[in-house]
């Protein structure tokens, strides 16, 4: 996979810190699981967390904490590491669907109950919602369709899983991530022969429904 568009440094730090919404974290985890260079970068950001952890003054823990934990260890079943490694290899895998997403939707885009917005444009909502309102959804857009130009109040992450699109930022193909913030206005146009399938998350829910609202409006191309 030839990945050209990567995660923003600030996004990686937020993921490493555990400070982004579940919706955004899902998209980040998906990209990281298929992008060796972002994986390297996120491990460096996590190392900042390690250093910060190490720099903390110790909190007092309960006197019997160690005994309690040791008592639990005694009840742990012995783990056969070889067995785990072998069973992992037999897990069905998919080239198109990164593993963190497979945990939510399974191995095939075909089994999803897509909901139609307008002809050629479908979506599926993922069960990642938090009190702060982040949301994530899969979009499936037919060749030649475009979204209306839109900008964002907050951050928006789009991971391309199949097909491709182009916008003011360039051309995005499978594996690429568009990591945008409020300063960018764009109009993605699907330019592949097959449907373009993307995983999208925002951290500003209100704007997300506005975007959806705009999607329902007449599209360029029909």
């Amino acid at each position: 996979m030839n990945i050209k568009h990567h995660l923003d440094e600030a996004t990686l730090v937020s993921y490493a810190a555990g400070s982004m919404s579940q919706a955004m974290a899902l998209v980040v985890a998906c990209h990281i699981s298929i992008c060796p260079s972002c994986r390297e970068r996120v491990s460096q950001s996590e190392a900042i967390g390690g250093i910060l952890l190490d720099s903390l003054d110790e909190a007092s823990i309960s006197d019997d904490a160690l005994d309690q934990v040791l008592a639990c260890l005694d009840q742990e079943p012995e783990i056969d590491i070889e067995m785990i490694r072998t069973s992992k290899q037999h897990q069905p895998s998919s080239d198109l669907i990164p593993r963190p997403l497979q945990d939510c939707i399974g191995n095939s885009f075909e089994d999803i109950e897509w909901k139609r917005i307008v002809p050629g444009i479908y979506y599926y909502d993922l069960p990642f919602k938090t009190e702060k309102g982040g949301a994530s959804r899969l979009m499936r857009i037919a060749p030649g369709k475009a979204m209306l130009p839109h900008s964002h109040d907050g951050n928006e992450l789009t991971l391309i899983l199949q097909g491709s699109f182009s916008d003011e930022m360039g051309r995005f193909t499978a594996g690429d991530i568009a990591d945008l913030d409020s300063e960018i206005e764009h109009q993605p146009l699907v330019d592949s022969d097959e449907d373009c399938i993307c995983l999208i998350a925002t951290d500003a829910p209100l704007k997300f429904s506005t975007l959806l609202g705009k999607l329902v409006q007449p599209m360029t191309g029909f």
Partner: protein
Amino acid sequence: MDNNGSGEDVDNVVAMTQLNSSSDWSDLLQELSENKDKKIYIQLFSHFAPKVKAYIIRLGLVETTAEELMQETMLAVWRKAHMYNRSKAAASTWIFTLARNQSIDWMRKQKYPEYSLDEWIEEPDEHNHEGENLVTSDRMEKAISKLPENQAQVLYMSFFEGRSHSDISERLGIPLGSVKSRIRLASEKLKTMWRDDV
């Protein structure tokens, strides 16, 4: 495998030598990953458990919850030790991610999306920066303390208060773009130190 009663283990630890540098802790955790020995585990517990609890308290959770999540995190250290790989992360980094995931799972009642470990094994790393995990925590702490205050602040708010970019932007009354550029600058500065002077 050590089958001593827990009381004896605790006594044994008192006699053990103190470890100071972060790379020693990583060596010790690597040992545990190869050999699940309670004596090794107890040393790691004594060092990391109070820090893990401090971290969880900083995230804003109450004492009793922090204690519980600390114990869960330390149990995960034992359960997942065989997955630890010293060349990929320092002990403090690995334990930080376990504590982070435990806390988030609890706070959101939803699993934090993780990139899975078997994918680490599948793809060999082309550019292996062995050195970066060996940077001492002293040195990194110094580096962090040298960051301009407004950059250190956004790092602390991210790591210790679990605040999203938009949350930080609201709190500090600065645009989202500024939050992101401060985090970017801070992170890139720290990473440069990793790369350059090991």
